[in-house]
């Protein structure tokens, strides 16, 4: 089917997604920001005063915001995509709506909401802070976007798995907690001793996190950590290509009534 139809369907699904997420009033939207905002604030306070785990070269608010937001882009996209098929089941009634569209719209909505959240949190902070800085804006965009693309690829896999093997629906959210601890949301890769550092660096999410921090402040060094845009780009690309390939193989099976 043509590209124009895909755009219309994704547009319609995004509308439906936003309507159910924000649910007609602002309480829904407050709920969306409250979660990440509370973690960012509590981590900033705890680690600044009690246990300076983060790197001195970067402001703690920026350190935790980037870590938590980038990780949340991944975790929210994945967890929501597990349910993408079931939640939109009624809408496959219209032949134009394909399972992949639900993943695209969910990934877009998560990315959009979290970018908005970041602007709401960091916008005022950067204005009032004594030395506001974003050293490399393109790098920041690239890091966040590539993390989101990687999450989308994983989301396609999770949607397929959630539809064909219902046990995954329980399993994926359970994996998110341990993943949180190894994805650099609350620590800096350069503080991790070898050989563990080397292993942790294989995780694309920690790459996205570290690249975002480095984009804010170039003093936050990535040297010797194995973090590179090249690696993140390749992982995202391979994940997406692979997931779309698998998707084309199983699309008919997904649509079939079971």
């Amino acid at each position: 089917m043509s590209f124009a139809i895909r755009v219309r369907v994704v547009n319609a699904l995004t509308f439906r997604e936003l309507r159910t997420r924000i649910s007609h009033n602002y309480v829904g939207f407050m709920g969306l920001i409250a979660g990440p905002l509370l973690s960012i604030l509590s981590f900033s306070v705890i680690f600044t005063f009690l246990h300076p785990l983060h790197d001195d070269s970067i402001d703690p608010i920026i350190f935790f915001t980037t870590g938590i937001v980038v990780f949340t882009v991944f975790s929210e996209t994945s967890v929501r995509c597990v349910h993408a098929y079931q939640a939109n089941e009624a809408l496959f009634f219209y032949r134009q709506v394909r399972p992949i569209d639900t993943v695209v719209s969910r990934a877009l909505v998560e990315l959009g909401l979290l970018c908005l959240l970041t602007i709401i949190i960091l916008g005022p902070y950067l204005i009032i802070s004594p030395e506001p800085r974003i050293d490399d804006l393109p790098q920041l965009f690239a890091a966040v976007l590539l993390t989101s693309v990687f999450s989308f690829g994983c989301g396609v896999f999770f949607m397929i798995a959630g539809r064909l093997f219902p046990v995954v629906v329980v399993f994926i959210p359970m994996v998110m907690r341990p993943l949180w601890y190894i994805s650099g949301a609350i620590f800096s890769l350069s503080h991790i001793p070898e050989p563990y550092r080397h292993w942790l660096a294989y995780n694309p999410i920690i790459q996205g996190v570290e690249l975002s921090r480095n984009a804010f402040n170039s003093n936050y060094t990535l040297e010797g950590t194995g973090v590179s845009m090249f690696y993140l780009f390749n992982t995202a690309l391979i994940t997406v290509v692979l997931s779309l390939w698998v998707y084309t193989l199983v699309e008919k099976k997904l649509r079939k009534s079971q």
Partner: protein, 232 residues
């Protein structure tokens, strides 16, 4: 023209494969409306869903060179947590390009359904009558070359039923119907031919009433089905 090329469709229940169609080929020509007849569970709705692209066959393919509706009459395709207005907008967004057209479709559905302030409330809170009103209104808001019409079970009161019939007759002027037998609206007499579905095979009757007669005899007369199949 809608064509089914050697379709096989089965459902697996408790490990047992149950075939609805085996290697079925069928052509539904343009410019003719068809009434599908057959006992419950024969596969009429399955066929409608396959043509509507909601379900996929195990093997084979379906091709069409015309715009085909979703199955009219079923209360599918609605997100329970969204209101009728939001559901209508969702569908309009899929089929229309500009905002004016979308608003026009939504207004049509609102007028047609005529359910007052319920139009703004979540779909899951509606009574079955209200659901039928919105569902039917949404189907009538768009123009398709072929309408798939599944059994319309509950369509509210007599006045609303009249309105539905009137709208369907108007659609019938420019579109073809592929419809599952239902006496409720008395529409099957308007079809050009009938397809009687027996054991996964279709038998065509150009005289719809003759098809209905055969269908009824298969249902009630013991031994007629075997006799009928032996004759074919």
């Amino acid at each position: 023209m809608i064509q089914l090329h050697s379709i096989t469709k089965s459902y697996v229940h408790k490990g047992v494969k149950n075939y609805i169609f085996r290697d079925l080929s069928l052509a539904l020509p343009k410019g003719q409306s068809v009434a599908l007849l057959g006992r419950n569970g024969a596969g009429k709705s399955t066929l409608i869903n396959l043509i509507g692209g909601i379900d996929e066959p195990d093997h084979g393919s379906i091709t069409s060179d015309c715009t085909v509706s979703w199955p009219v009459g079923l209360v599918g395709g609605f997100q329970g947590s969204l209101s009728a207005r939001e559901n209508a907008r969702f569908v309009a967004m899929i089929y229309c390009d500009d905002e004016d057209e979308i608003v026009e479709k939504i207004n049509f559905v609102q007028d047609f359904a005529d359910i007052g302030m319920y139009f703004e409330r979540p779909f899951k809170t509606y009574s079955s009558g209200m659901k039928a009103r919105v569902t039917f209104g949404l189907s009538m808001a768009f123009d398709f070359q072929v309408y798939l019409i599944d059994e319309i079970t509950s369509v509210g009161d007599e006045a609303f039923r009249m309105k539905c019939r009137e709208h369907l007759m108007r659609k019938r002027m420019q579109s073809d119907f592929i419809m599952v037998d239902h006496n409720l609206l008395g529409l099957e007499a308007d079809c050009d031919y009938a397809l009687v579905l027996v054991d996964g095979r279709f038998y065509r009757y150009d005289d719809v009433l003759e098809g209905v007669e055969i269908h009824k005899r298969i249902l009630v007369e013991p031994g007629f089905k075997e006799h009928f199949l032996a004759q074919q």
